[in-house]
């Protein structure tokens, strides 16, 4: 599987690259910086991954071509927020912002320990997106759309603090009908 990983100037992108390679058999990952987004050839990618990063979705214009490319998309943290805003959703400050800490979420009927790094959160869910997970404080932890073949995680499956990061990648692959 050819995976294009777009790096929003983040410091966890290579962790995500390593996780994708370990979780998806035969994955080949190409990492490209956000600054090259307008020139990127999206046609060869079987999956496009939008990385975490600092700042707000508004600071990262140009992702329309990714979400309108017809390619399956996985967004992590900021990547999920960018996906949400593309569909008309909104982002705001997270009360009690959380970095470098774990949380427990109900994921497909099981409790999972996940790592959180976010100052911002989804305050309005975009049109046509389903909320697939929230935490105890009702913060959106996963959003997706089978119609648009897009899924996003607010938490960080690539963190060493997430107990079973590979599972979230494999579940995303299944949701995106890429198996």
């Amino acid at each position: 599987m050819h995976i294009l990983l777009i790096d929003n100037n983040d410091s966890f992108t290579r962790n995500l690259e390593h996780l994708l390679v370990s979780a998806i058999k035969g994955a080949e990952v190409v990492v490209e910086p956000y600054t090259r987004l307008p020139q990127l050839d999206l046609t060869a990618a079987d999956l496009i991954v939008v990385s975490p990063g600092p700042g707000t979705p508004a600071e990262y214009p140009g992702y329309e071509r990714v979400f309108e490319s017809g390619k399956p998309v996985l967004g992590i943290c900021l990547g999920m927020q960018i996906m949400n805003e593309h569909h008309g959703g909104e982002t705001g400050r997270l009360p009690g912002c959380v970095h470098g800490k774990t949380d427990e979420i109900d994921w497909l009927g099981e409790q999972q320990t996940v790592a959180r790094y976010h100052s911002l959160c989804v305050t309005k869910v975009g049109d046509g997106l389903e909320v697939m997970a929230r935490n105890d404080q009702d913060v959106v932890m996963c959003l997706g759309s089978r119609d648009h073949r897009a899924i996003g995680y607010q938490f960080h499956p690539e963190s060493f603090l997430t107990s079973n990061g590979g599972r979230f990648i494999r579940d995303a692959i299944a949701y995106l009908d890429l198996q």
Partner: protein, 425 residues
């Protein structure tokens, strides 16, 4: 170049006296470790430099590789934080009279591995080998350490005083809430005028009284580097990569299980370290084999000076076709002294700190070959300018969302304490 080599059984005291003598008599440069620390390393002393690389804005990592790898022998020196800013594309118009980096290769060098209790002397010719061996054999009888001349006295000039530092912490907290950084290391600079300071004697006395795993001494033009760092940046041993980020600090009078538990159980301190561990995993991953990067000994603690410090071991395996300097420069400067995400945090640091960091938060490095290297994070580090008499010291702390400005200032002062109290002795 032919290298002659001899191994001589030595006690640590004998090696220490020998190293001091080489610095005093032969202007040696040194990376000196102390035993018993998680970041303990092989001590290396270089004498009779024969090649030097003084970094400029035009010096590329490729040029550094040529300098280090085209000829055999260890390269020893420093790479400044300011050079790291150039690597990461962060502009600065602050005055900086400190070199961007300086590496030397030597006609003779000495290594001491405390575990093996042996001093290994390498030299370009037999007479140098004999001379160094003679100096080692007579080192224990050499002159005792004299009182240090010209120590800094009185209050230093600071780049950020308490009010300024706490305002910087408050601004950092706002940047965290806006999502532009998760953690940011904010520092202040202390400056004294000490024209009569004997900086080598000071370094040796500090090492005797305040041992740490990564002491270093280097002559760089008119500058004298005094590094007393407790922190390893990256070691590469036959391709095995180890980084040991430190985050989480507790000032204590005594290292007790209760104090250690207080540090380890603090949600704020745990989060500080976890963030940087994820960052270090990222920074070594670009040059490590898939699946090889792993965290061990997370939330471990050691004591240095009057501080308990928390750390973790991040391991990896260098990819085939990559060398230790690919790894070093891709990961530089170390995440524990930038914050996370690195690029955004470095940009904010440049905005909030009124001083140029220079060597501080860069690295002291020993590079042996393509797959063997060790390097520190150059914290607890001072520089003496022998021309102007300026003695500059820096200290800082990691700011996270739970930080209290006053406590962060106190932590910063605790890290500078062994230097701040020198003139009181």
């Amino acid at each position: 170049m032919t290298q002659l080599r001899i191994s001589i059984s030595s006690s640590r005291e004998q090696f220490d006296a020998f190293a001091a003598r080489l610095a005093q008599e032969l202007d040696a440069d040194m990376v000196l470790s102390s035993p018993g620390y998680p970041a303990e390393t092989t001590s290396v002393v270089g004498v009779h430099p024969e090649q030097e690389l003084l970094f400029t804005e035009q010096t590329t990592p490729e040029a550094v590789k040529h300098f280090c790898f085209d000829t055999p022998g260890v390269a020893l020196g420093y790479v400044s934080y300011t050079y790291g800013m150039l690597l990461r594309g962060i502009a600065s118009d602050k005055p900086n009279n400190f070199p961007l980096g300086h590496l030397k290769k030597y006609r003779g060098w000495v290594e001491y591995n405390a575990e093996q209790g042996a001093t290994v002397i390498s030299a370009a010719d037999q007479s140098m080998l004999d001379d160094l061996a003679d100096r080692l054999n007579t080192a224990l009888g050499s002159a005792p350490m004299l009182p240090v001349k010209g120590l800094p006295k009185g209050a230093p000039v600071v780049s950020l005083d308490q009010a300024g530092y706490e305002a910087g912490v408050s601004e950092t907290l706002e940047r965290i809430l806006s999502g532009h950084t998760y953690q940011l290391n904010l520092s202040t600079k202390f400056s004294w005028n000490c024209p009569d300071l004997d900086p080598l004697a000071l370094l040796l006395v500090l090492r005797r009284d305040h041992p740490a795993p990564f002491y270093a001494w280097m002559q760089s033009g008119q500058h004298r580097v005094l590094s007393t760092s407790p922190e390893r940046f990256i070691r590469v041993s036959d391709g095995h990569v180890l980084s040991q980020p430190i985050k989480g600090t507790l000032r204590v009078d005594k290292h007790t299980p209760e104090a250690e538990a207080q540090l380890v159980n603090s949600p704020k301190e745990r989060a500080e370290l976890s963030m940087i561990v994820d960052l270090i995993r990222n920074d070594i991953s670009a040059n490590c084999e898939y699946g090889s990067v792993e965290v061990r000994n997370h939330l471990s603690v050691f004591a240095v000076d009057t501080l308990l410090q928390m750390y973790s071991d991040v391991h990896g395996k260098l990819r085939a076709g990559r060398d230790c300097l690919d790894l070093f420069f891709d990961a530089f400067p170390g995440g524990s002294i930038t914050g996370c995400p690195k690029l955004s945090s470095m940009t904010i640091i440049e905005e909030l700190e009124p001083h140029s960091r220079g060597l501080y938060c860069g690295s002291m490095v020993v590079i042996r070959d393509e797959r063997n290297m060790d390097s520190s994070i150059a914290i607890r580090t001072a520089v003496h300018d022998t021309d102007s008499g300026a003695f500059d010291l820096y200290a800082g702390s990691g700011i996270v969302v739970d930080s209290d400005p006053a406590k962060e200032y106190q932590e910063t002062m605790a890290k500078a304490e062994k230097f701040l109290t020198l003139g009181d002795a």
